[in-house]
């Protein structure tokens, strides 16, 4: 049989207030009537303007432990449990622990700032001398400060990485010559607009007589003309339309909030009229025009990107075939599916040979009749 463990000796400690202060600089001694009879140096510092000694504990603090504590009997019932002591003067909350004293004459409270220690240090100008040597408050301040510094640094790094990422993304989606979007920008915007399911339209533009400019005046003139064309497209469209250069002299304008078909024709008309304004280049004049194919998502029962692009392309070549400098809607078959090859026109039939630098173009806009 194991022998009974020895009964623990009850030790009644008697401590000098100064010793108590070294261990617990935020102690309070409260008598059974709730009157504060002694206070540690740091808690006293917090109440320098209105000293604590002689005051009722419950007049200085609102005590809580899952509901209010308003009497010393309630304090006794919560002995050894964490308490919250909120200053009645609005000075914030402290954490506390109360245990009865050996003589039965009252309770000893030990208080701490808990998580409010950061604010308290600032508010009361506390130093390490205000904490017990064994208190981890200073370590806590250190950790919080180090964490704040590291998080700040990571935040700045994150911010600059984000900036670099969006700049790289913007570059990857920009045509460097004209500053317009490129094929990738168009593909992404198309995927987005198709996923959202709203009505949209595409204007597929191919410059007329551009090859002649390039061949007779050189690539520099060609680049100049492409930039001028880009400027025309920006002027002729609305801010929320996406303008992209998808090939040498091919552009696609995505209308995410398209007007009705006459409205789309007006936009196409403005574009063509703008393109036909002669462009001066080193003492000479470049004359171009544009052929446009228009395709509208609402003409399709089920929107398919590839079919729409092919139909827009075909409508564009119908415009070329019909004499250039005009816009054509992708024709709609009786079954509802557009088909931009009403007369069996294929891209191969329509070259870009012909007119020279001084060539002229018709500025008419033709809408293909819709069968649907």
């Amino acid at each position: 049989m194991p022998s009974k463990p020895p009964k623990p000796q009850v030790v009644a400690l008697q401590l000098h207030a100064k010793s108590l202060d070294a261990f617990m600089p935020m102690f309070l001694v409260v008598d059974m009537g709730g009157r504060i009879t002694a206070a540690g140096k740091t808690i006293a510092k917090l109440f320098a303007a209105a000293p604590l000694i002689g005051k009722s504990l419950f007049a200085v603090f609102d005590l809580r432990r899952v509901g209010p504590i308003r009497t010393m009997a309630a304090v006794a019932a919560r002995a050894g449990q964490p308490l919250t002591l909120t200053r009645c003067d609005g000075g914030g909350a402290l954490r506390g622990l109360a245990m009865p004293m050996a003589d039965g004459q009252g309770f000893l409270f030990n208080l701490s700032f808990g998580i409010g220690v950061i604010d308290a240090v600032r508010q009361f100008g506390l130093t390490d001398a205000d904490f017990a040597a064994t208190d981890l408050a200073i370590e806590m301040l250190y950790v919080v400060e180090a964490k704040t510094a590291v998080m700040g640094e990571l935040g700045r790094l994150n911010h600059s990485l984000k900036g670099a990422k969006s700049a790289a993304e913007a570059r990857a989606m920009t045509d460097t010559l004209t500053g317009l979007g490129n094929r990738r920008a168009l593909d992404m915007a198309l995927a987005d607009v198709i996923a959202k399911g709203g009505r949209f339209a595409m204007l597929h533009l191919d410059l007329d007589f551009f090859k002649a400019v390039n061949d007779t005046l050189g690539h520099a003139a060609g680049d100049h003309v492409l930039c001028a064309a880009a400027a025309t497209l920006r002027e002729a469209t609305r801010g929320h339309d996406l303008i992209t250069r998808v090939g040498g002299d091919e552009f696609v304008i995505l209308l995410t909030r398209p007007p009705d078909k006459p409205g789309m024709l007006r936009i196409a008309n403005r574009i063509i009229a703008g393109l036909e304004v002669p462009i001066p280049w080193e003492g000479q004049v470049c004359r171009i025009s544009g052929s446009i194919g228009i395709v509208v998502s609402s003409d399709y029962a089920a929107v398919q990107e590839a079919a729409m692009q092919a139909d827009a392309d075909a409508a564009l070549y119908a415009s070329k075939r019909a004499g250039r400098g005009q816009a054509t809607f992708a024709a709609v078959r009786p079954d509802g599916r557009p088909d931009g090859r009403p007369d069996g026109i294929s891209a191969a039939d329509v070259g870009d040979a012909g007119l020279g630098v001084d060539g002229t173009a018709q500025g008419t806009v033709v809408a293909m009749p819709r069968a649907g």
Partner: protein
Amino acid sequence: MHGLINRAVQCFLRDTYGAERWLRVARAAGFGSDGFDTMAVYDLSVTEALLDAAAVQLDRPRDVVLEDLGTYLVSHPTVEPLRRLLRFGGATYLDFVLSLEDLPGRSRLAVPDIDIPELLLEEAEADVFVLGCRSPLRGAGHVMMGLLRAMADDYGALVLLDHLGAVDGSERLHIQVLETSFAAGRRFDLASATSPVAGG
């Protein structure tokens, strides 16, 4: 709301319903697929739009989505660090409940501008509590419901939880702790298995 909150919703949708569903929600709410920056602070309307879009896409009431989010925050392996931080609340579920009032302050210690609901605990009778939950985010109490339920499993406690609705802008949750050691619960040591200082 803090980016961490929006990010939590994003990770919840991604981990629970898959990346495709998250993308659909993001698109419906009008955000890019990149998701949220954990360091940034967003307007409350962003979080509201995100949650409304999630409710529509998942075809579930918003309150249910929020409660599932609360459960996720405790139980999913992705957010294990969060479960650990919650377990710092106490050795038993009862201690945990009693420490709930400290939760917003502790969270702010780590992330100063985080929007954790203000929590006020009242003891109705022995082991029966009413938790007041005040947040600018509508339905934040349902997140607390899911979190409290999952934490009960974590501690192995048997509890009854009930959302009592809102009074004066504060959602009220009824918590009855029937048994603190009903099941084994999950293991928890104050010391983490891998030291964060060493990089784990």
